[in-house]
Assembly symmetry: C3
Homo-oligomer: 318 residues x 3
Amino acid sequence: MSILKNFTSLEDVSDPVALVDQVIKCKSELQNREFAKGLSFVMLFFNPSLRTRLSSQRAAQLIGMDSMVLDVGSGWPLEFELGQVMDLDKSEHIKEAAQVISQYADIIGIRSFPSLKDRNLDYSEPVLNAFLEYAGKPIVNLESGTGHPLQGLADMTTIREFRKTEKPRILLTWAPHPRALPQSVPNSFAEWTLSQGYELTIAHPEGYELNPQFTEGANVVYNPEKAYEGIDFVYAKNWSSYADYGKISNSDPRWMVDQQKMLITNQAYFMHCLPVRRNVIVRDEVIDSKQSLVIKQANNRTFAALAVLKNIISHMNT
Amino acid sequence: MSILKNFTSLEDVSDPVALVDQVIKCKSELQNREFAKGLSFVMLFFNPSLRTRLSSQRAAQLIGMDSMVLDVGSGWPLEFELGQVMDLDKSEHIKEAAQVISQYADIIGIRSFPSLKDRNLDYSEPVLNAFLEYAGKPIVNLESGTGHPLQGLADMTTIREFRKTEKPRILLTWAPHPRALPQSVPNSFAEWTLSQGYELTIAHPEGYELNPQFTEGANVVYNPEKAYEGIDFVYAKNWSSYADYGKISNSDPRWMVDQQKMLITNQAYFMHCLPVRRNVIVRDEVIDSKQSLVIKQANNRTFAALAVLKNIISHMNT
Amino acid sequence: MSILKNFTSLEDVSDPVALVDQVIKCKSELQNREFAKGLSFVMLFFNPSLRTRLSSQRAAQLIGMDSMVLDVGSGWPLEFELGQVMDLDKSEHIKEAAQVISQYADIIGIRSFPSLKDRNLDYSEPVLNAFLEYAGKPIVNLESGTGHPLQGLADMTTIREFRKTEKPRILLTWAPHPRALPQSVPNSFAEWTLSQGYELTIAHPEGYELNPQFTEGANVVYNPEKAYEGIDFVYAKNWSSYADYGKISNSDPRWMVDQQKMLITNQAYFMHCLPVRRNVIVRDEVIDSKQSLVIKQANNRTFAALAVLKNIISHMNT
């Protein structure tokens, strides 16, 4: 059994395989609306959210947990440095902010996207870590600068449900996109896939190497086609460069997932976290095929959040 | 008994008179908070809402249904065409969007205003119809490009409560407004009134004819005063032109509802869906009179939504 | 026992000491989730809110009351004058707005900040008073142009919990701030402190006198240091000028609360309503000390709202 105190990254999870077991179990159980009665889940969105917000709020509802959603956006300019004279644009210090939210929450969910400008800042996870330091309540990552573990857990659940062998071969392939996107989803997908003991290949153009802390043990290739041979699951995702931080250096459509490449695989399933740009990331023929798991991934988001909330609540006063 | 699978327009309603009966019944019953326990009502607002949002959410609460409200506004640029290369501003295809929302909802409510620029587009109801096609869950129209059936049902309930005869004479009168407004409310009021077997006169300046699909059977007049003779209910509303689509060609204050015109009626009640611009649409002397039903209409919005939700839920797994 | 019909200002409270008793009692009781079952709390935010919103919604949840939160911001331009021809920017009259919200609410909470431009307008409390006149439902002030009574009640609860004598000596000290802030919090703190029979000193630069209706009985001093002698509680807050309405005429850092001044006191506690600008209003050394009560004040916000809601509900049909 995996015991969660927080769920901010894979590092909070002692047994990632057992946690997927728990998600699968949640799907088949009738949930008890009294389980979390009287407890409060406050979700803070520093950036917009659709899937994560609905699936997490739904998970809370299924166990009778009260939820409060706060879109703080850019309207809550927080100071993170200690010792500052706050006479400019920052109106509240994270030290008070985190402690105050804690007064109204039993669990705090936080979405905070990266700047994609300052790599050291983004990868230091200032918002998550400040809440971990000051809030004194369990923290759930609703997608941060470096990771999206609820997506990772939902994806591992989907793979578990559709894998044909104990050790499927997974391909995470970069694909083009007109805007610079965070590395959060590919970082989490890579480390969660490796945590399950699966075989992972990551394919991307040169210059798009992910932070090695998330990919150790993966096979990296720079060819958009060869990587598909013998693959059981193709996970497509765009991300901006980690090395030349936040930049786009490639828009080659040969990296798009199409039927021709899928034919090279071992009748692979297609996965994407959504939203997806059709005929840029993936051709209609693939996402509309029977092998596409994208909606099942979205469905599993609720149960990933449910398992995380139930796990945290079970160990809250222990 | 009227059986609802969806509630996107009057066409979804097999027996519109019986549905008004159900609303009246809902008003007198003590609601059972266990009725919809565990079910989820997701409301998507592509445009702002006050009355519809509060009344629909309240209806869900009264039967113990979980609700989630999402203001998607302009921040969710959706692609509706199939086969597009989505490399510009559209970040998600409606096909995924609708299926994803369905994973977190048992019933989906949608507000989506018309552009008032492209009549064919607006009257094809792209958002509602895409959700009907892809979502696989019951859809409730929270006001769309061509109709506002929850308002229509609430209005019919109000007329039922105050009518003195089985076949009251109803006047829907256009009134001036400084901005171009949709035809949704007058379209729905016209077709719902006709569906109840009532006698309907529609008065408006020339060029403001509504789409005939909603008004067949109504008497159309172009005079702002004569139409009031013998009328039992005066329903005022502005709309922009259907023929010269979305345009304003008239601002004649003689179309405003005032006491002098009301004196011509059969002691008629005054109705409006709100919000209303006082002394532009209607004079204070009328809206502040005892004959004004506007607040009762607003009150009936909750029970219209309640009857619709209960009806849909009752037939969800049949 | 203090009986509340509304909670818009201290004037609504017959026994302010007894109301603090009720808050203290709420903190120690297990709340009954059936207490307010079926009732609806609609919160209207004409301005942003974090603490007030979360604490009030949490209070409603604790007694099983349904809540609906509406951020109306600037998107709901209301007309307040009677008899106007509404052909410009105002799309709804407060008379309809208030009555309509009432159809969906059993209690209405309203946040409406002052303009800080027109003193007579702000101090006439147009939004609160229009809702009191037209809504016909109990109104709770979630911070208005002239007061923030939920903050005042939470502050009195905090003082009650930490006072060492029956009649502690309280200092409300002005402190600098780069932006013009309302007088709502200091007005309420002053009148609530006096209502408890405590000894109140108000320190501020000349020209920052508060409206005397809130400060009668307080000792006013214009020196940033002398006022600290013998004080038990130091409450820091910035406000803009009441005399030269909404203006800032002083930014002297000698008014900041620091350790040196705190040493003059009777081992005083430090209080602030938050958010607070560190090293502008108060030095880190004070807000980070054991004498700082700011987080406890934030915690008491929930119980102040809880006591108010319970009190109003208890007397709703009497």
